[in-house]
Every structure is written in structure tokens, then in C-alpha cells.
């Protein structure tokens, strides 16, 4: 039975990530269409049913599976094949340490809605993200194409630069909650400030939240940080890719968007916490309570987590279709001379405030 719970957890989490990522591929087309006063994808149909063009997800994947799988003659066949898998694999593995719900006692079983409970969970996610760089770099190198190589080098430079900012930013959050375990962080965010404000990260670390979201968007390598791709200039590390292997790179972009949203939710928006909802039900600070069975609490919290992630994904897509692309030097200047000093300032200010409040 415990084995079944574990398998169920993994299956649920994996399928919701993949589902959300593939819905995002459709959402990106539809949302941009709405923003640009177009109709957008609506052609794929099954027996005349179109349901807003949602069948385009299926149509796209069939198209990618059946297209020719091209390897450049001068390229490195093995690395060219492995590179997108590396990118996709490490993007997905990072999710394992993120909790999508709390711990519940259901029918005598303890269900902890987290695949991998590590006491260095946050570092694990970061480690996997930093390993993901190799997929893009190798893809660019193995293509034997100067534009692809340039894209790969740009990807590595950009991701390392913003990873530093990202790491420096979360230190403030770690200091506030005093833990590296993502589950512990979520539990800490369920507490109340002054008796009625939920202690979410965005309220305790507003600057940190903004910096983190910016750095996380840079990690996804999408507009406005898409210099490694730069459709109108170098096309990027996947210029020599086709078929399903291109599809993997394409999907990795969206999975990284989901990962950015999931991490932002977990660190700054309370994760699975619903304000005033505890293990027994709602308990409002102004008195009054509302009893709920455990299963309902669990469904509410998981649902709240998913809703937060989805909203953030929506906002990320909004940003992607609003801002123009940075130039390479602007990107580096933003990362190293603005965001890194600000994130260090954030650490210092957090430390001083913690010292004052702590005493």
C-alpha cells in the first residue's frame, strides 16, 4: 500500500507537470493571439470538434514524431542525440524535491505529498537546474554549426550568470525560514504575522521575490531573455534539430517555465498553503471556524498549489509576449551590475532586520 502511494504520487506529479507544459504550448499560441487581436490556433479538429484549438497539442506532437530526424553530416551523432534528453531529464528531475501538498493522515496511512523529501531540497533543485545547462551547450556544439555553437555558448553564459543571482536571492528566503527543506519552508509559510497576515515569502521578501522571478525567467531562456535563441538573429542551439528531438528542446522550455512557476510558488507564494486552512479545516483569525474532512483539506491545498502555479505561468506568458528582447551586453549588465548587487543588498537587509526582530 505504501508502495502504491509512492507510485501514485510520482504518476500524479509527473503527469500534472507534463500536462501543464503541453497546455502551455497551446496557451502560448492562443494567449499571444488574443493579445495581438488575432484568432490563433483553431484548425486542428476531430470530427469537427475544435474545443478552442486544444487538439493542436495532439496534432503538434504527431507532427514532431513523424518528421525526419536530421543529424548534420559534420555533427557528432551521439552527442546530438543525447543533448535534448539531458536538457529534458534534468528539467524534470528538479521537480522531485518540490512538495505539492502537505502531510496528511488518511485511513491510517501517512501521506506526504512530496516525491523526494530531502533536507537540502532547495539545493537539489538548483543542482539539477545547473546540470541542465549541458543539454543546451552540447546540443549547440554537436550540431557543427557556428550559429548553434554561438547559441550554446550564450546559453551557458546566461544561465551561469543568472544562477548566481538566483542563488544569492534565495539566501534571504532561507534566512527568514531557517531551512533548506522546501516542505519545511511551506509549513513555515502557513504561520501568521501579527495574528492575521499569512507569512508568505512575497510579504517577507518582496525584493527577493522580484529578483527571483526575473532570474528564473532568464533561466527559462525565453523572451525577453532569449539571446541563446534569438529567432531573428542566430536561431540558437537547436538550429540543426528537427522532429522529436527539437520537440524535446521545445518542451524543455515550457517545463522550465513550469519549474520557475513552481519554485516561485513554493518560495514566495506559500506553496500549497491556503490562508487560515489547517489540518482540521478553516480557522479564521477573527474567530469562527469551519470543519473539513482531511481529504477535502488535501484536495483544497493541492488545488490551491496548482492554481497558483497556473496563474504564475499565465503571468510569465504575459511577460513573454509583452517585452522585447534584451541585447547580449544589456543582459549581462542587468545580471551582474544590477541584480547581483541588489540580491546581496537583500541578504544584508534581511540579516539586519532578522537581528533586530530576533532580539
Amino acid at each position: 500500500m505504501e508502495y502504491a502511494i509512492d507510485v501514485g504520487k510520482v504518476l500524479f506529479w509527473f503527469s500534472s507537470i507534463m500536462g501543464l507544459a503541453s497546455i502551455l504550448t497551446w496557451m502560448e499560441r492562443k494567449q499571444s493571439a488574443v493579445m495581438q487581436d488575432r484568432i490563433g490556433a483553431n484548425r486542428a479538429d476531430i470530427f469537427g470538434f475544435r474545443i478552442l484549438g486544444l487538439f493542436h497539442i495532439i496534432a503538434d506532437s504527431i507532427k514532431m514524431f513523424t518528421k525526419q530526424d536530421f543529424v548534420p553530416a559534420q555533427g557528432n551523432r551521439i552527442l546530438h542525440t543525447v543533448a535534448p534528453m539531458i536538457a529534458l531529464f534534468f528539467a524534470l528531475v528538479g521537480f522531485a524535491a518540490v512538495p505539492f501538498g502537505g502531510t496528511y493522515e488518511i485511513a491510517g496511512y501517512t501521506v506526504s505529498l512530496q516525491v523526494l523529501d530531502l533536507n537540502v531540497g532547495l539545493l537539489f533543485v538548483f543542482a539539477m537546474m545547473s546540470m541542465g545547462i549541458y543539454g543546451f551547450v552540447l546540443g549547440g556544439w554537436a550540431s557543427a554549426n557556428n550559429y548553434a555553437l554561438l547559441g550554446g555558448l550564450r546559453a551557458s553564459g546566461q544561465m551561469i550568470s543568472y544562477e548566481i543571482t538566483m542563488g544569492a536571492t534565495v539566501i534571504g528566503t532561507i534566512m527568514v525560514y531557517g531551512t533548506l527543506s522546501l516542505q519545511q519552508m511551506n509549513i513555515a509559510q502557513g504561520e501568521l504575522l501579527f495574528g492575521w497576515i499569512p507569512a508568505w515569502g512575497i510579504l517577507l521578501q518582496p525584493l527577493g521575490c522580484i529578483l527571483f522571478v526575473t532570474a528564473a525567467l532568464a533561466e527559462t531562456k525565453r523572451v525577453p531573455f532569449d539571446v541563446p535563441e534569438g529567432e531573428s538573429e542566430i536561431i540558437g542551439y537547436f538550429v540543426e534539430y528537427s522532429g522529436m528531438r527539437f520537440g524535446m528542446f521545445f518542451l524543455t522550455d515550457f517545463i522550465e517555465t513550469v519549474l520557475a512557476a513552481v519554485l516561485t510558488t513554493t518560495l514566495f507564494f506559500g506553496g500549497w498553503q491556503v490562508p487560515y486552512l489547517y489540518a482540521g479545516g478553516f480557522e479564521f483569525p477573527w474567530g469562527g471556524s469551519f470543519e473539513l474532512p482531511v481529504v477535502a483539506v488535501m484536495l483544497l491545498q493541492v488545488g490551491a498549489f496548482m492554481a497558483k502555479v497556473f496563474t504564475l505561468c499565465f503571468i510569465f506568458l504575459l511577460i513573454r509576449w509583452t517585452l522585447p528582447r534584451f541585447r547580449w551586453d544589456q543582459l549581462m549588465r542587468l545580471g551582474w551590475t544590477i541584480m547581483l548587487p541588489l540580491s546581496i543588498l537583500n541578504i544584508v537587509v534581511t540579516g539586519v532586520v532578522l537581528l533586530i526582530v530576533g532580539n
Partner: protein, 165 residues
């Protein structure tokens, strides 16, 4: 089970290490080294050093090796033809040295086996709290010196990379 994990990742580390040394193309050496560092990180985890294992992946495999790969791709060194004749030149010194080291290891083995401690407190020892407490109290001065070292290294790298003419 633990033995199995150890031998699996030890084998991977050793084979990858040999590839690093014997591979003629620098890019494959770099890739093998990444694999080697990854499996060493697993061994670190097995030793109860959770924080160090994560740092190993982030810093070594994730940052230092990306720089290596970056440089290898940038200057694209040609395949190198090397021979093992060089070993002969140093073997006069190396043989006695390695013999001494091997003797030390052999001597240490039984001593260590006698006193193999149980690892009850492993989980706490590897945690970031314990490391941080030690780092910011007993090792505060070395820590600060290291940060200055990194600052110097950053400045040095920038001076070197900057075009003089």
C-alpha cells in the same frame, strides 16, 4: 544495497576518470569528468555529507565544468597524440614515492577497520546547520580569507581576459 551503490558509482568514477586521462579529444575528457564528478557526488551523499554533495554538483559539475566546456569549445584544441614514455622520465622519483604511499595505506587499513565507527549521528553531521555553525565560529578567519581569494581570482581573471592593446 549500500555496497552495491558504492561499487556501482566507484566503478563509474574510475572508468570516467580513465576516460578523462586517456581520451585524446578534450571535449570528451570534459564530459567524462562531469560524469565522474556526478558519481563522486553520490558517494559524498553516501558518506552523509548531504550539503557537500549538493555543492559538489552545483559548483563542480554545474559551474566549473561549464567553464571548462566553454573554453574547450571556444579554442577547440586539436586531438592530442600523447605517449606513456613520459612516465619513464619521472619513474625514478615516482616509484619510491608511490611505494611509500601504498605502504601507508596498507598500514592504515587494519587500524581503520578496528575502529570503524557507527554513523548514528550522520544525518545531523551532514546538515547545513552543523557546517554553518562550525564555519562561522571556528573557521571564520579562513572563511573570510577564502572570500578575499575569490575576489582576487575574479579580478585576476578579468585583468587577464581584458584586451591590453
Amino acid at each position: 544495497m549500500e555496497q552495491l551503490v558504492f561499487y556501482l558509482f566507484a566503478t563509474i568514477a574510475v572508468v570516467a576518470g580513465l576516460v578523462v586521462v586517456l581520451q585524446r579529444k578534450a571535449i570528451y575528457s570534459a564530459l567524462a569528468l562531469i560524469v565522474c564528478f556526478g558519481s563522486i557526488a553520490v558517494l559524498f551523499y553516501q558518506l552523509g555529507a548531504f550539503f557537500i554533495a549538493a555543492i559538489q554538483v552545483i559548483v563542480y559539475a554545474g559551474a566549473i565544468m561549464v567553464m571548462f566546456l566553454f573554453v574547450v569549445m571556444l579554442i577547440d584544441p586539436e586531438s592530442e597524440f600523447f605517449s606513456f614514455n613520459r612516465i619513464r622520465r619521472v619513474s625514478v622519483l615516482a616509484l619510491p614515492m608511490s611505494a611509500v604511499l601504498a605502504l601507508i595505506l596498507l598500514w592504515a587499513m587494519p587500524v581503520l577497520r578496528e575502529s570503524d565507527t557507527n554513523s548514528q549521528s550522520l544525518a545531523q553531521k551532514g546538515s547545513i546547520e552543523v557546517i554553518a555553525r562550525s564555519l562561522f565560529s571556528d573557521y571564520l578567519l579562513p572563511f573570510e580569507v577564502t572570500s578575499i581569494l575569490i575576489l582576487v581570482a575574479v579580478l585576476g581573471a578579468m585583468v587577464l581576459a581584458k584586451k591590453v592593446d
